[in-house]
Symmetry: C2
Subunit: 635 residues, 2 copies
């Protein structure tokens, strides 16, 4: 186990002289490739003295007497002056162009009258003004862009020597893996869809390489060895075994590399990505990438993308950095460099960054993030409010256009997001789900543009307003708009096998409940309904078993972990669960006043008032949009 920088030094030094070779390609196809040698111009450009303006070509010496007081007539019929267009060659004997705007023609159009002299070579593009034959056009290892193609052709270079695309062979290993194409309708029990290889292949292509994915190889020493031999024979420049790199019984990768070649690094103190193996067989880099998708990705981007680019003479630029403020405490284990996926957006003068969940197994932490925070190995973490630097996963302009949404989740937020993205300009929404109360405090602390909240005040029977008065008033100005009314009820297994009828059944011995976390609107609602029914939480098995979203509760029920959970109809319907209605609740959007005039928030308010939006939300079932966009309170 070594640190990231040490692992990189070992790996990159070992392959310091590994090159992908060189090939000649047509210049017009060269964008994105890298020159393999210096490129010298064959032709000059222009190849002749050319007019740089539309006008008349003259001999400058003929015009010296012209002035405002003594206009000069040049003879067109004899060729003393000749009409010329931009780009045309200067006629023999001419050395200047006078712009057509500064020329008056006599009635017969035989004479061109000018009122100022031309100086020699005025408005003339001289031979070689752009490119001089033999000059260095591009040095070795120049990354070719579209204008470079124009320069290559103009310099007479129809073919250019570029470095070859390295060939990457990706070998998916694991007896649990299946191809989606073989099981398009349902994944067999205990099996996992092989999704890493296509991701890694796309990353390899981004790094300029060609990628080939072999069939899945089961966790069998001999078969892995065979697959490696075949890849070597096929001339791979880099071989990735994915996964089989941790310490489990099925992890033959390290043994195979050790037998056939040399293991350079086994284990790197990064998270995700710790079980990375870096090795060499017959001069070819062979790596064992971890199996978790985010681990596989980070291992690739830290070690393999830079190596592939280096093989091609491509400069591996780091991701752009952006200064930001951490919205949360982010404790981190010392001794491990941590890669935290973040969502970031602009709140006033700051870019605020918030963490998404941590799991290396969750590829959606990458797809939902727009930035990466690296917490160095020597650090024990980041405090809320601390200044940090984030690596951008999406363009800066997109982060500037991102609405940060913290709080309770509702499916209608996804629909808002979809409408926002289709707008012109498009807006982005990044949401983290921490429950209604978490959303209100996030608004209070200036961490978001928007919070979804559905907190019932059991005393007054009112939604949200009581809580805003308690947590927000006098500390942060904000407005509360209604988004939807939605049905809350018990989600139970399809067919309701345990015959649950209502809240009183939750106390039954044979019923396991799954709850939402404290501070969530659904939890408050449950407590309210329990109180009304005179039931104590201690009577309910699983009351302390908490999940953070409606969908997670639904999954708990579907998988049999629990028999019942409180949630919305749409979540039950999405997973085919049985639903026992309990009540209709109001779900509001809380918007801090300083965000209200942002064009993104204005676009959002327009969307929730639109017919199209309402239609799509109501089609989910269990929703009413009768008050969508109604201002409930200004705090």
């Amino acid at each position: 186990m070594v640190g990231l920088e040490e692992a990189k030094a070992i790996f990159f030094n070992h392959f310091a002289h590994k090159q992908s070779g060189c090939e000649l390609i047509r210049s017009e196809n060269a964008a994105g490739r890298v020159t393999a040698e210096p490129v010298f111009a064959r032709f000059s450009s222009p190849t002749f003295h050319a007019a740089a303006m539309d006008g008349i070509a003259v001999r400058a010496e003929d015009t010296f007497s012209a002035s405002d007081n003594t206009p000069l007539a040049l003879d067109l019929s004899s060729g003393q002056a000749e009409f010329i267009n931009t780009g045309q060659p200067l006629p023999e004997g001419k050395n200047a162009v006078i712009m057509i705007e500064n020329v008056i023609l006599d009635e017969d159009e035989n004479k061109a009258i000018i009122r100022a002299p031309a100086f020699p070579w005025q408005h003339v593009r001289k031979v070689g003004e752009d490119i001089v034959a033999t000059e260095l056009l591009f040095p070795t290892h120049h990354f070719i862009t579209p204008p470079d193609i124009g320069a290559l052709l103009a310099a007479g270079i129809s073919q250019v020597a570029v470095t070859k695309r390295p060939k990457v062979v990706i070998i998916p290993t694991g007896s649990e893996l299946v191809q989606l194409d073989d099981f398009p309708m349902e994944v067999p029990a205990g099996k996992t869809i092989e999704s890493n290889s296509a991701m890694l292949a796309a990353m390899a292509k981004e790094a300029g390489a060609d990628a080939e994915i072999t069939p899945i190889v089961p966790d069998q020493y001999d078969q892995i060895k065979e697959a490696l031999k075949k890849a070597l024979k096929a001339g791979a420049d880099l071989i990735i075994l994915n996964a089989g790199s941790s310490a489990g019984s099925a992890d033959f990768t390290v043994k195979v590399i050790e037998e056939m070649g040399k293991v350079l690094v086994h284990g790197v103190t990064i998270m995700p990505g710790k079980p990375t193996i870096l090795g060499e067989i017959e001069g070819t880099p062979v790596t064992g990438n971890p199996g978790y998708p985010v681990s596989a990705l980070i291992s690739f981007e830290q070690f393999l993308a830079p190596l592939l680019k280096k093989m091609q003479g491509m400069d591996h630029g780091d991701r752009p950095l952006l200064k930001a403020v951490s919205g949360r405490n982010l404790p981190s284990k010392a001794g491990i460099e941590e890669f935290r996926r973040m969502v970031a957006g602009r709140i006033g003068n700051d870019i605020v960054a918030l963490p998404v969940k941590k799991g290396a197994g969750a590829i959606t932490t990458m797809t939902r993030a727009n930035a990466m925070l690296r917490i160095p190995a020597h650090s024990e973490g980041i405090s809320a409010g601390q200044k940090i630097e984030i690596e951008l996963l999406r363009p800066r302009s997109q982060i500037e256009k991102t609405i940060l949404c913290i709080g309770s989740h509702d499916l209608s937020l996804d629909i808002i997001h979809d409408f926002l993205r289709k707008g012109s300009p498009p807006w982005y929404m990044a949401a983290t789900h921490v429950g209604s109360l978490g959303g209100i405090t996030a608004v209070r602390d200036g961490l978001c543009h928007l919070a979804g909240t559905h907190l019932l005040d059991p005393e007054s029977g009112k939604y949200n307003v009581t809580y805003l008065e308690r947590y927000l008033k006098g500390r942060k100005k904000a407005r509360l708009y209604t988004l939807v009314y939605r049905e809350q009820g018990f989600m139970v297994q399809p067919g309701n096998p345990k015959g649950i009828k209502g809240i009183e059944d939750l106390t039954r011995d044979d019923i396991a409940f799954v709850n939402r976390q404290a501070g969530s609107g659904t939890r408050v609602l449950l407590d309210h309904e329990l109180k009304k029914a005179g039931i104590s939480p201690s009577e309910i098995k699983g009351y302390d078993n908490e999940e953070f979203t409606h969908m997670a509760v639904a999954v708990s029920v579907l998988s049999g972990k629990a028999d019942a959970g409180l949630g919305i109809l749409a979540a039950a319907r999405a997973l085919g669960l049985h639903f026992i209605p309990v009540t209709e609740e109001r779900y509001d959007l809380l918007i801090p006043e300083d965000a209200l005039n942002l064009p993104s928030i204005q676009a959002l308010l327009d969307i929730i008032k639109s017919k199209e939006f309402r239609k799509r939300v109501e089609s989910l079932g269990g929703y009413s949009t009768r008050d969508a966009g109604k201002l409930v309170a200004s705090i």
Copy 2:
């Protein structure tokens, strides 16, 4: 003629609803494409409760009594505990995993001994922890990246609906144009290589489109019309006529669009790019792009790239911006927005940006620049030292690695550049050629890392040092290193038709001379040699005819504009000119002391001391590297 923003508003609003359509493609090929509709997960991921660690699977309730003082033995043979690897499904009845590191096996390996209880669902990835079936995976118009492919496959989505690549048809027009492939050895007199279309096609591909280039169409009204009809019939989403958009007699573009459809914009107050035509025929955008390569490029990037991206639902991000300091006065015409190509690099705490030359006809202004400065229409220019914001044409990391080199040019600098780029890490060099004295003042003013200089002091016969004492001493600390000795002499036409033998021939009536600019080392050398020979500058025809580089002087001679010019052997040899040696001069590198410890400058000093570098320089002819890297003076 309208302003840039107005032209954009007219053009983009006119095609606000133009879409490129939609197609289904395989998810693994979707990187770089854009979703055409919201994408919902079909499967949950994981689809089963899976071990998140290698270890043993247990029922948490069985472990509650374990502690440091009361270790607990779980029975492996009966299946009370079962070995499990990361990713494997949790056996029926088990609900937790204990890491293998926390398990001790008894001698028979029948019992697993633990010293701490497991809590329920510890180290278990629960069903749907990453993705819940039916949830929104991506909204409409989501730009698909490699991790997104992993998420698509994991969610059971083998095909994804994306927006189509728009089809761009590029019609090169101009009777002066020829294809390089037809004239690979020499361009016919008065003809120009058609190089814009390939550049525009590569830009279209960068904007996500497919591009097709038609054969060259001569400046004939009917033929242009015919080509347009054909492109419309072929289903083009965007048609570019390039060029034929200025006011010359051959400019039929605007007339054809007017006849067949509608001209929306004719002329935009930008430079380069002014003669842009934006129009529409049968609902298809048809544009007349200016013919100068930089004009064509800017017109494309301002109008066509954003439209192509919009058709695909792709967010058109602006180029990243960087704060910089202008190293020069940049006067600009009010009423015109100017796009100045710049080279930028870090000098101490500042990014310093310097202009490259202006010509819209010079594509090398784009290929050599790493940044673009936009001077707004209302501005009359930028002052040296003024804070500016530049748009990055190359990655920020590259600009940070760029050596700014101002001063006299020598071919050996190109060789240094080539070696720098092949290094690890690669370094970049951006050079502007302003003569030796300009280089010394640039060092003095903190505008560069390096200046090439070869200024002879006629009094002492010494090179450079006298000038440094005069211009630098007490104002900026710097060191002077010798780079090369090189032969200076008269470049004359091949075969020396006018029989020039030496400096005294320059006074002949039939000899036109081409000079270097005042302040250049070669000019100082000439003046010194003239004085020695007792010749007055007024006796030489063309003494005031100035060029800025050796190569430009050589081109003047080759093209017959001049009969003789003073320059280096390598330049004469490059263009096949006859060379009459005059003297050997020393060419030094001046490096400000505060740049000396930069790793880039250290790499450069290592290069000029290397055998490989010396060998390549000497192979140019007329060079001696006998003192390369020798410290001459510390000022």
